[in-house]
Amino acid sequence: MSMRKPLFVVAAALAFGAGAALAQNSGVQSPNLGKPLSEADVKAWDIAVLPDGSNLPPGSGTSAQGTKIYAEKCVACHAEGGKGGGAPGAGPLVGGGPLTNGIETPKTIANYYAYATTVFDYIRRAMPYNAPRSLSDNEVYALTAYILALNKLIGENDVIDAKTLPEVKMPNRDNFILPYPDRI
């Protein structure tokens, strides 16, 4: 439940009396024109995955399964072996030099991403570029496994699912600093 007291509630209390203040979030002052939904109603849109694995869907995939899907749906832009350059803007999915190479070092999954869940999430929401949301969850798991295996972040035969994906250790995870911690 909300513990937040917006200023307008205070203002409304002054205007309408103390009774209004007691009714915070109950619709007395606020327009309340939102249509109530259930979380089940939102499920089709609720695709964001969190680093701890929250909201990962059922299903699983392996690198071998991902290899076939990649050859069919990804290779045109991301090129053989994820080397990139098949289309403008389709950066490499593999490689990446040490970040000590300089401030313009290309950021890659292996040298930069903090969590492997980001790979799954972005494939599921945005890929293929010409047909977003067209992959099944199993296909997304398989492609995630394929890319992580290409980067040697998992083994060739590892199964990626809601339990194993958040456990993938990403090399750069502990290399981040918050420039403005008080803004969080």
């Binding site: 937040r4 309340n32 849109w45 401030i103 313009e104 930069y112 991403y113 803004r183």
Partner: protein
């Protein structure tokens, strides 16, 4: 003969810094210094004057007024520079031509825009905004329902974290202010306070983050601190008095004033309250920075204090020695601009510029500095302070802290890094030609 001496007034050059910078009070209506400055070089002769006559446009009935007017045909060059004019299957950027604009409001047609997968064609009658997650009651809003709320209206700049990225180049690129700094614009936004909607949904006190997600073909999403949502965020539905431009998030966008442009999620369709950041693609990769030495910044958010001179700047030419007004914009994601200093001698000496009121929180402030150019080489710079005491770093300081490219940048469209907020220098030679220089 100068106009002032003709009037018998002694030229009064109230100089405040080297190379001809004049006290800003000259712009505040006292007049003396400006008159002196102009008089010193601006000779007037009637010998070559053409006789005045009525032009044809004054002698005939004019054109029909269109329902939506556009700029004069003589202003056709006032246009955004495009990174992807042919609509290739990749991201695209349109940069505001600051060197051709003035004031503080960016016209809607010239507001910068970045889209990672084209501009979606959204039917406002079908668009929905859902708020859910760690809330008491998930809610769905429409443009129609939000339009019935009391709207808050405010000025705010929106700046891409990659704005000014060409200045990470080890050598200055010879491009306009718009090509360098055109990924920032400033508008009056009107919308519904995000806190109002979160309160109506009954956000859980344990929710520290929001995932804000758009309805584009990448469902672009960012993690936003709840703290910011209750500070000054809004769901914007109007831009400079009209509905949002398609490229700026039509029909609704998140506005988080002073934070990375990418966080101002366009085509906003979903806000989910959560207890941890999502580490979305864009906050994981593009909008996180590599520091010299190899450490990395994440959740940078804040667009730091910055200014740049728009007039005169690359692409302009000073036709003759004499009086000019140096003008530019300053802004800070922290708050209001407190002070802008201007130099005409590459930073050896500085004078305080006049700030155009009102000076607003997290919005463009136009500064002006009267200047008498003596026809000799000059280097123009501006440096801004905000009300919290943050100062725009000198280039040497900035490069020491944030680095620069090893080789000169091949194109101003590249993004070698983000969050450049150091000083821009325009070098003027003896012919009045202007180059981008580092000084």
């Amino acid at each position: 003969m100068s106009t002032t001496s003709r009037r018998g007034r002694t030229p009064s050059l109230d100089l405040v810094a080297g190379n001809g910078l004049i006290n800003r009070r000259a712009l505040l209506g006292t007049g003396i210094a400006v008159a002196g400055a102009m008089g010193a070089a601006g000779t007037v002769s009637g010998a070559a004057a053409e006789p005045l006559k009525d032009e044809q446009w004054s002698l005939e009935f004019g054109s029909i007024m269109p329902p939506v007017q556009t700029a004069s045909k003589y202003e056709k060059d006032v246009a955004r520079t495009l990174s992807n004019p042919q609509g290739e299957f990749r991201n695209s950027h349109a940069r505001t031509p600051h060197q051709l604009l003035s004031g503080t409001i960016t016209p809607n047609g010239l507001h910068f825009s970045i889209n990672h997968c084209g501009v979606p064609d959204i039917d406002p009658a079908k668009h929905k905004l859902v708020i859910h997650g760690m809330v008491r009651q998930p809610l769905e809003f429409t443009l129609e329902s939000l339009s019935r709320y009391p709207l808050v209206t405010r000025m705010a700049f929106v700046e891409c974290a990659g704005n000014s990225a060409p200045m990470f180049s080890s050598q200055p690129l010879q491009v306009t202010a718009g090509a360098i700094h055109g990924l920032v614009s400033n508008s009056e936004w009107a919308g519904v306070k995000l806190s109002t909607l979160l309160d109506e949904a009954g956000i859980d006190s344990q929710a520290k983050w929001l995932i804000a997600e758009g309805a584009d073909a990448q469902f672009l999403d960012r993690s936003i601190p709840v703290k910011k949502a209750y500070d000054d965020a809004m769901v914007a539905i109007y831009q400079n008095g009209e509905r949002l431009m398609p490229g700026n998030g039509y029909p609704m966008r998140l506005l988080v004033p002073g934070y990375q442009g990418n966080m101002n999620v366009k085509f906003l369709r979903r806000i989910k309250a959560i207890d941890q950041p999502a580490y979305t693609f864009f906050e994981t990769k593009n909008y996180s920075q590599i520091l010299p030495g190899g450490k990395t910044w994440r959740f940078h958010f804040l667009m730091e204090v910055k200014s740049f001179i728009t007039h005169p700047s690359f692409g302009h030419t000073l036709k003759e020695p004499g009086f000019y007004t140096i003008s530019g914009v300053a802004y800070s994601g922290t708050g209001r601009i407190a002070k802008v200093l201007v130099s005409a001698d590459g930073g050896k000496s500085w004078g305080e510029a006049a700030l155009q009121e009102p000076v607003l929180d997290k919005a463009f402030t136009r500064f002006q500095m009267p200047w008498r150019w003596d026809g000799q080489p000059a280097i123009l710079q501006s440096r801004a302070w905000d009300e919290a005491g943050n100062v725009q770093p000198l280039r040497a300081e900035f490069v020491a802290a944030r680095g620069e490219t090893k080789q000169p940048l091949a194109s101003p469209l590249l993004f070698p890094n983000q969050h450049y907020n150091s000083i821009t220098s325009w070098g003027i030679d003896g012919k009045g030609e202007i180059k981008h220089v580092y000084a």
